[in-house]
Amino acid sequence: MRAILKTKAAIVGALMASTTVAAAGDVEVLHWWTSGGEAAALNVLKQDLEGQGIGWTDMPVAGGGGEQAMTVLRARVTAGNAPTAVQGLGFDILDWGNQGALADLNEVAAKEGWDDVVPDALKAFAKVDGKWVSAPVNVHSTNWVWANKAVLDANGIGVPTNWEEFTAALDTLKAAGITPIAHGGQAWQEATVFDAIAMSVLGPDGYKAAFIDLDEETLGSDAMKEAFDRMAVIRANVDDNFSGRDWNLATAMVINGEAGFQMMGDWAKGEFLNAGKVPGEDFLCFRFPGTTEQVTFNADQFMMFDQGGAVSTEQAALASAILSPSFQSAFNVVKGSVPARTDVSDADFDACGKQGMKDLAAAAASGNLFGSMAHGHAAPASVKNAIYDVVTAHFNGEYDSQTAVEELVDAVSIAK
């Protein structure tokens, strides 16, 4: 049995060796989309490139939402054989760009008119020193709330428009024996919730001052304390088993009717769709009360690494394919996010997707489009993680609100 397996493995191995050695006509892509819809959608990109005669060498490294992949990337860059394209988010891209490790995509960008169709706030993360260095795949938005419509209807709850209505809804659900908020106890999830709450309390200007400009006064203000107080309310409305739960298991709680709401980015939509739920009929999507005008975003991008001088045709082809309207539509319909270019038709998107695209365009136009603090698009990784530490410690009861505010100021100053 083992002999047969070994021979089969040997044949497959030989085949793989002969076809996947990264030759000049190949792109090597490092990413962490190793399952589900994303992997399938990425496969579409792969086949698109293969149709153009460009091979795709896959280098998947899962774990930690990209943490392991970033470690591997460092090793590869230090060893001098960086991959062609690497999945990246926010400040990581800028950090690598500032190191001079990324390629200059201006030629492709000019040819295809990227500057005109990509929102400014997103461009800030795709360009370094005026040069395009990465190709944005999507725009996720993080200040969404997802709700089970049947549960809400059964308890006479409408879509809350402000904090008071929201807390009233939570109380109603609690009394009815339903977990008000489905939550997974991981640092980034707590930060995502805090992100939306902070935006609702501080407002767009306060949010910018605190998390983008890292202004100490705003970080230590009473408004921030109020944000932490509201976090404590959220904490009181999650079930006992929340610690360590993965985000998609929390979404499952809403899908099953065990819980009423989940505060999560729009990648949660994919879970609802996979379960055969229809937006507007089975589940609702709305902005967190107090943040209806704002969109806090994070965007997956593929940063293109300098392969020794000029941008190769393969790299350019990959970048071009990523930003093509057809790929943008196909991928984002699956992923739950909205396209990174504003000129893509919303015909294939469901109701929540259409809403997201509308909100994005509106927010970009009115100056309400902000990078999400919780997802590395407001401040660099060191600061983001420092904020994570404080928020998660507060959520888990280690600090009270006042201490949390003081710790926040301290942590950010150390991490800057």
Partner: protein, 297 residues
């Protein structure tokens, strides 16, 4: 004594061959271990963030390190974890070895059962235990379905108790190996001494306490070395089991160093924490090594 030129050359060559044979390993060790350690120590004094950079900043990284409550938590967890892990593994290992040594039937079956956890990677161990310890789907749930409704075992989700779950999983993985070491040591003890003591009327308890266990000193020390080395390197298990959580309750220095170097883009602080780790290891290991190796002469 007179030697012919031939024998002279041959003897001199023979004197050099051992050193030649040893030299690749020594060279590799000097470069890839001690060279890298020095590099890491140097980095701790620089402004490295994403990648190594060489701007000197003195002790700034160290002062930042000690201001981080995260670091203190890691150290405290390390103390708890290492103390429990080493002592429990040794106790279980010794106990099982003593029992197995009693002419047990089925030793051939039991020994691989005790040893096999060591064969598993930490990803596998962490996944299995994470499941088992989860109150929703693991042991607590099983107890509930079996009728014991009030059974509670949610340590893995509890900030104060989560570190003990890491201890459980780690002990499960390595205590069998420690048992093998002690078993080997027990089997090497000279029976004549035991028989003589028995003739003098010593009880089993005394036999063990006075003769056997003291003779196991080398095994104790070897077990201590292997266990401390594993305790310090515990990284994969924590990542797979709890991810450092809940919150930061199961962070260890190894996971701290990893996250600060590779995902928080604060390589300087990561290197500083690594240097502290190495100094701690040195402080424990060097006295032991010195005493052990000195006796050889």
């Amino acid at each position: 004594m007179a030697h012919s030129a031939d024998a002279d050359f041959k003897t001199r060559l023979q004197a050099w061959i051992p050193k030649l044979v040893l030299s690749p390993s020594v060279a590799m060790m000097l470069v890839f271990v001690y060279g890298f350690i020095l590099f890491s120590v140097y980095l701790s004094f620089t402004d490295s963030r994403l990648l190594p950079s060489y701007g000197w900043v003195g002790f700034e990284n160290y002062s930042k390190l000690w201001r981080l409550s995260h670091w203190e938590i890691s150290l405290k967890n390390m103390g708890i974890f290492a103390a429990l892990y080493i002592s429990i593994c040794t106790a279980i290992g010794l106990g099982l070895a003593i029992f197995l040594d009693q002419k047990i039937r089925g030793e051939g079956l039991l020994r691989p059962i005790y040893l096999y956890p060591m064969a598993l990677s930490f990803i596998v161990t962490g996944t299995a235990w994470k499941w088992f310890l989860d109150p929703g789907i693991g042991l607590e749930n099983v107890m509930h379905t079996w009728g014991w409704e009030s059974f509670r075992f949610n340590w893995i989700k509890d900030r104060d108790f989560a570190i003990y779950t890491v201890v459980i999983a780690a002990v499960w993985q390595t205590s069998g190996f420690v048992m093998a070491m002690f078993l080997a040591g027990l089997r090497g003890i000279d029976n004549e001494i035991l028989k003589a003591a028995q003739m003098d009327g010593a009880s089993n308890w005394n036999l063990y306490r006075r003769i056997i266990i003291p003779q196991l000193r080398p095994a104790f020390l070897s077990a201590f070395v292997i266990l401390s080395h594993l305790a310090i390197k515990t990284f994969d298990l924590v990542i797979a089991l709890t991810g450092g959580g809940p919150g930061r309750a199961t962070e260890l220095p190894a996971t701290f160093m990893y996250s600060y170097t590779f995902s928080r883009n604060q390589m300087g602080i990561g290197a500083a924490s690594a240097t502290i780790m190495l100094m701690t290891i040195a402080a424990i290991m060097i006295p032991y090594l010195y005493s052990e190796l000195r006796e050889k002469r």
